[in-house]
């Protein structure tokens, strides 16, 4: 649990909506939203109580304060019964973060060696207001929001994660891009001393890990820069202290431990495209109709699952965010631009 400093505006325990009513209201609003399906907005519901079993982290004071002022449940799944939040231990114990090893347990085992305080991010390229910024200064001007998103890995498994973060659009606007800025390019930290996966001489990845978004994707309100999850700061293995979350794209697009954000004119070559361009493209939108050459993308295993119920569900176009993002790709051949 985070240390909570009560504010006069805070709700009392008695003000908390009983879950049954909360859920039915959610369903009602989900129904109302109809066309905006998936995006049910609610007021400031206090969510810290929901994470009472989540271990306390070691966030700096400024981050604790930002988190305590979060707009909780800003975006939630329209069907919370189907999209149940994964247990914290699973979300923080089963990760792909190849900087720390290739086994899904490696990041949780070895990411403790990453020093995340202090942290700064270089914002450069086609911007008028570039430079190196302390993470604190990037976070402070924006309102933290809790976004409960489905995360669909390209390996055909998925989890539902409650992120805490700010819209990427806020950061880009403050950087004041020039008219030449067409894409956003992101870079993960390179530091073999702290990241043991980068010491492997058999790694296929040419560090740093690079990802990119088209400008309109980066500016989309669903795209966030996360600094926390489950009511606390990000565990290192989940990409602390700053990571991208783009819920309609495969998980590998959501680059972790970011040290550089560049506004560029040319489409960046992201790491996986560089490694195997026949398997991974620049867009990497979740698409059940376009298979990975080595496995089907038509279904996914929603985790946690158990031995005899693999919890296999149909994968949805744009990971279920079709209504919000399909227009970004109008007229594009998504078979070609996978």
């Amino acid at each position: 649990m985070l240390i909570k400093i009560a504010k006069p505006s805070d709700l009392n325990e008695s003000d908390v909506t009983p879950e049954s009513i909360y859920l039915s209201r959610r369903r009602f609003m989900g129904g109302m939203a109809g066309l905006g399906a998936g995006l049910a907005l609610s007021g400031h519901v206090r969510a810290n109580e929901d994470y009472s079993d989540v271990p306390e982290g070691d966030a700096p004071a400024w981050l604790k304060e930002k988190i305590s002022e979060t707009e909780w449940r800003a975006i939630t799944p329209s069907n919370p019964d189907k999209d149940k939040i994964a247990p914290f231990d699973d979300a923080s114990g089963y990760n792909n973060f190849f900087e720390f090893g290739t086994d899904k347990g490696d990041p949780a085992r070895y990411a403790g060696s990453l020093e995340t305080q202090p942290w700064s991010v270089v914002v450069d390229g086609e911007v008028n207001n570039g430079g190196r910024f302390a993470l604190e200064d990037i976070a402070k001007p924006s309102q933290f929001e809790e976004r409960i998103y489905r995360l669909r890995c390209v390996e055909a498994w998925s989890m539902v994660i409650p992120w805490l973060g700010i819209p990427l659009a806020d950061i880009i606007k403050r950087a004041d891009p020039t008219s030449k800025a067409k894409y956003v390019r992101f870079e993960t930290l390179v530091d073999p001393e702290q990241m043991r996966g980068q010491r492997s001489s058999f790694s296929i990845i040419d560090w740093p890990y690079v990802e990119g978004l088209r400008m309109d994707e980066a500016m989309h309100p669903l795209t966030i820069m996360a600094m926390g999850m489950y009511g606390r700061e990000l565990p290192n293995q989940n990409g602390a202290p700053l990571r991208l979350v783009v819920p309609w794209k495969y998980g590998f697009k959501s680059i972790k431990s970011i040290v550089r954000i560049s506004l560029v004119e040319e489409e960046p070559v992201n790491s996986w495209q560089q490694i195997a361009s026949d398997e991974y493209g620049f867009y990497a939108n979740v698409n059940p109709k376009v298979d990975h050459p080595r496995w089907s993308q038509a279904t996914e295993r929603r985790l946690p699952n158990s031995l005899f119920s693999p919890n296999t569900i149909e994968t949805r176009m744009f990971n279920g965010y079709e209504d919000e993002v399909a227009e970004l790709y109008a007229g594009m051949d998504l078979r070609k631009h996978y």
Binding site: T102, G105, G197, D291, R294, S309
Partner: protein, 206 residues
């Protein structure tokens, strides 16, 4: 009589040692210690376990040449059958825990994915060797038995290819297994194979 008992104890010990990983992983799954995707956990561990069994099986002949200890030859059939058992469980884990016994999907995946095709060929090969591993088949096949069972070398190659195609980001682990496999196969090259007994002679004299 005493030596009979000794060899039986040795074979039982090998049997239990080969069974232990399976029991250990099952125990982990039963105690929620196998992560959020226990089926995949079993699938990958049993797969690697099967590769271990195959490498161990194929290392018995050079070990016998090197030491002339009878014990290695005595467990060759058993370890070969363990390889088949692990491979079968690996495939069943995939069908049960990953595909959820969706037969249509299994059919289309087997046809479409090269790494699965290669894995299936290796499994069928192991099954053929398993079925023909008894004394009756050895007698029946006579001189053809040995060349048939040399197909296990090809199976090792197929298994490594299957593994190679599954790797996503780091070849380190695969390279380590490939190196061990290469060493084991190198002992079968005629010049090396001829040297092994001489090496034993030299070792026994020092």
């Amino acid at each position: 009589m005493a030596t009979q008992h000794k060899w039986l104890a040795w074979r039982v010990a090998v049997f239990l040692a080969a069974l232990t990983p399976l029991l250990f992983w099952s125990w982990q799954v039963a105690n929620n210690a196998a992560g959020p995707e226990p089926g995949r956990y079993l699938l990958l561990n049993i797969g690697i376990g099967g590769l271990w069994m195959l490498l161990l099986t194929l290392s018995l002949t050079p070990l016998t040449k090197l030491t002339r200890w009878k014990g290695f030859a005595l467990i060759r059939r058993q370890l070969g059958l363990w390889t088949l058992a692990y491979a079968t469980l690996h495939m069943l884990s995939y069908a049960l825990f990953i595909l959820g016994l969706n037969w249509a999907l299994l059919g289309s995946e087997i046809v479409k994915r090269p790494y699965i095709i290669v894995g299936m060929i290796a499994l069928i090969g192991l099954a053929v060797l398993g079925v023909t591993s008894n004394k009756w088949s050895m007698r029946k096949l006579g001189k053809r038995w040995k060349p048939l069972h040399k197909f296990s070398y090809a199976i090792l190659g197929l298994v490594l290819l299957h593994f190679f195609w599954v790797v996503r980001a780091d070849m380190g682990e695969w390279a380590a297994y490939a190196l061990v496999a290469a060493l084991i196969m190198a002992t079968r090259l005629p010049p090396v194979a001829r040297t092994l007994p001489k090496l034993r002679y030299r070792l026994s004299r020092t």
